[in-house]
């Protein structure tokens, strides 16, 4: 019983991390039709910011990581994507690869490619007892933080003027602009939000693994991207669900597969992904109106 609950909580917590990552990718895809692989480097560089600020008070480290991720997200939009606003999606995709590689190599150049230990918030590694079951505090915190972020994001999108503009732009950007919605504001906001999401994921991952390394974001983003695809590209609830399912499935497979098959759990995840795409190519929660870009 205890083992089962622990596994489920672990699956939900890892699923939440991938859901947050997939949301960051989904937000940008929604308004730009851009699959931003450089989202991974937002996560990585937020983690290195934590490393650089190590020793400072915790709030300084957290806000520092968030601020750097936001600024970097806005900067990449300005430098790499805005000049290509009317280019086709393939060009944007290649530009995002370029940004991703550039930032990775830059990090290696500046700080080296070796793992660095970072003992951030070690107290979250403690076990807590909940209804007679021992759980890791970090997993509970990860789930709670994810719920808070998803709730706040939903509120922002549903209840604010800019949120409405973003939803309209995601559905029909050209018409939204005809009505006076400012493309630059909407896109900048989407990038800023993706920066916040990346920083949150980064902090949680660093606490969990205790290390930072230049490729940490890429690995997350590739899996989360798969999540956004099975969820339904262009749909935010789809991205969150898809990311969650992919993350949770890999943990459940790890626990449920016979030991000699565990090494291949990713293969099983991708078989499941292939099946979803075969039977629901539009994704689990398809986007409402996938219109062509501006």
């Amino acid at each position: 019983m205890e083992r089962l609950v622990q596994t489920l909580v672990d699956a939900v917590s890892v699923g939440s991390l991938y859901a947050l990552t997939a949301l960051g990718i989904g937000l940008i895809f929604g308004v730009m039709r851009l699959i931003n692989f450089a989202h991974g480097e937002l996560i990585t560089i937020a983690a290195y910011t934590l490393l650089a600020l190590f020793g400072q008070p915790i709030p300084v480290m957290l806000f520092g990581a968030i601020a750097v991720a936001i600024v970097l997200a806005l900067l990449t939009e300005r430098v790499a994507f805005r000049p290509l606003r009317n280019a086709d999606p393939t060009t944007l995709l290649i530009s995002s690869f370029a940004v991703s590689f550039f930032l990775q190599k830059l990090l290696i150049l500046v700080v080296g490619s070796r793992l660095k230990g970072l003992d951030f918030l070690p107290e979250l590694g403690r076990q807590i007892e909940f209804a007679g079951i021992r759980l890791q505090m970090l997993q509970i915190v990860t789930i709670l933080v994810s719920i808070v972020i998803v709730t706040a994001l939903t509120w922002f999108l549903q209840a604010t003027r800019l949120g409405l503009h973003m939803r309209a732009a995601a559905e029909d950007f050209r018409m939204a602009r005809v009505l006076g919605v400012r493309a630059n504001n909407v896109i900048a906001m989407a990038f800023a939000l993706s920066g916040i999401l990346a920083a949150a994921v980064s902090c949680l991952i660093v606490v969990q693994t205790g290390v930072v390394q230049p490729r940490m974001g890429v690995q997350l983003v590739i899996i989360a991207f798969v999540g956004t695809v099975i969820g339904g590209l262009g749909s935010l609830s789809g991205a969150a669900l898809g990311g969650f399912l992919v993350g949770a499935a890999s943990i459940l497979l790890q626990a449920l597969l016979p030991p000699d098959l565990r090494a291949f759990r990713e293969a099983f995840v991708f078989i499941a992904v292939a099946l979803v795409l075969l039977f629901r190519p539009q994704g689990l929660i398809p986007a409402p109106g996938l219109k062509e870009r501006i």
Binding site: A168, R174, M175, A176, V178, L179, G180
Partner: protein, 249 residues
């Protein structure tokens, strides 16, 4: 024309898509308070013409002046703030957003939240079906209801000029009547209307002046009465088709 300076003045407008010329140097003037229509067959350049005014396409040549100010080069999202609203062909309702949200988007450029709310209520009174479905996704509305929503959304920016691109397209005749009845109400509120239609008969009843376009050029123009009774109308309207037929296109 009612005013000495027209509200909208287009001169020498050319619209090109690559090698294809959609509009070949047209001149058009719309006075404040007028209802002016552009009629012509499919592919005559009607949509290109008003798309140029709306900022959706950049003219290759010519000038567009609105209320005495040139519109050239201003970004798409700034056109509506000049006082120009568009009901595009195909309506372009935000299907996943609610009816109310679609209307609020129409008021994007306004900052007077209370007056916007009052205007939205007024439209719900004018179009009761929209009021009933205000919290439903707009994609669930019928074509006629979506057209009403598209018009209400455009009017919520409080435009001086309302441009409508084929508002009767895809609607049942009774719904077209409803939409056309609206134009009188809109005009009575002081909004100038520039209407683009294939359906010439309907247009004559509501317009002050009519331009007939074919092959990207105006063939005839004049008061609705003159054009309606002009024996050259059919030739002007179908001109391009005859030419196309003759050239084997």
């Amino acid at each position: 024309m009612s005013a000495s300076v027209p509200l909208l003045a287009i001169s020498g407008l050319v619209v090109r898509y690559g090698a294809v010329v959609a509009v070949r140097g047209v001149d058009l003037q719309v006075g404040e308070g007028e209802v002016v229509s552009i009629v012509g067959p499919n592919g005559a350049g009607k949509t290109s013409l008003i798309s140029a005014v709306a900022g959706l396409v950049t003219p290759a040549e010519g000038t567009i002046t609105f209320a005495g100010k040139p519109l050239g080069g201003i970004p798409l999202e700034d056109v509506v703030a000049q006082g120009i609203a568009l009901v595009p062909e195909g309506r372009h309702i935000f299907a996943s957003l609610t009816v109310t949200e679609n209307m609020m988007l129409g008021a994007t450029i306004r900052r007077d939240a209370q007056a916007v709310a009052a205007d939205v209520d007024r439209f719900f009174a004018m179009f009761p079906i929209l009021g009933e479905r205000r919290h439903r996704p707009a994609g669930h509305l019928s074509g006629g209801e979506q057209q009403q929503l598209a018009i209400a959304r455009a009017l919520l920016s409080r435009p001086r000029l309302l441009m409508l691109d084929e508002p009767s397209l895809g609607l049942a005749p009774t719904l077209v009547d409803q939409v056309y009845t609206l134009f009188k109400t809109i005009r009575d509120q002081g909004v100038t209307i520039l209407l683009v239609e294939q359906n010439a008969e309907r247009v004559f009843a509501v317009s002050d002046r009519v331009y007939v376009i074919s092959g990207g050029e105006f063939g005839l123009s004049g008061s609705a009465g003159e054009i309606k009774s002009d024996p050259r109308f059919d030739a002007a309207y179908f001109g391009v088709r005859m030419r196309e037929a003759a050239s084997g296109l």
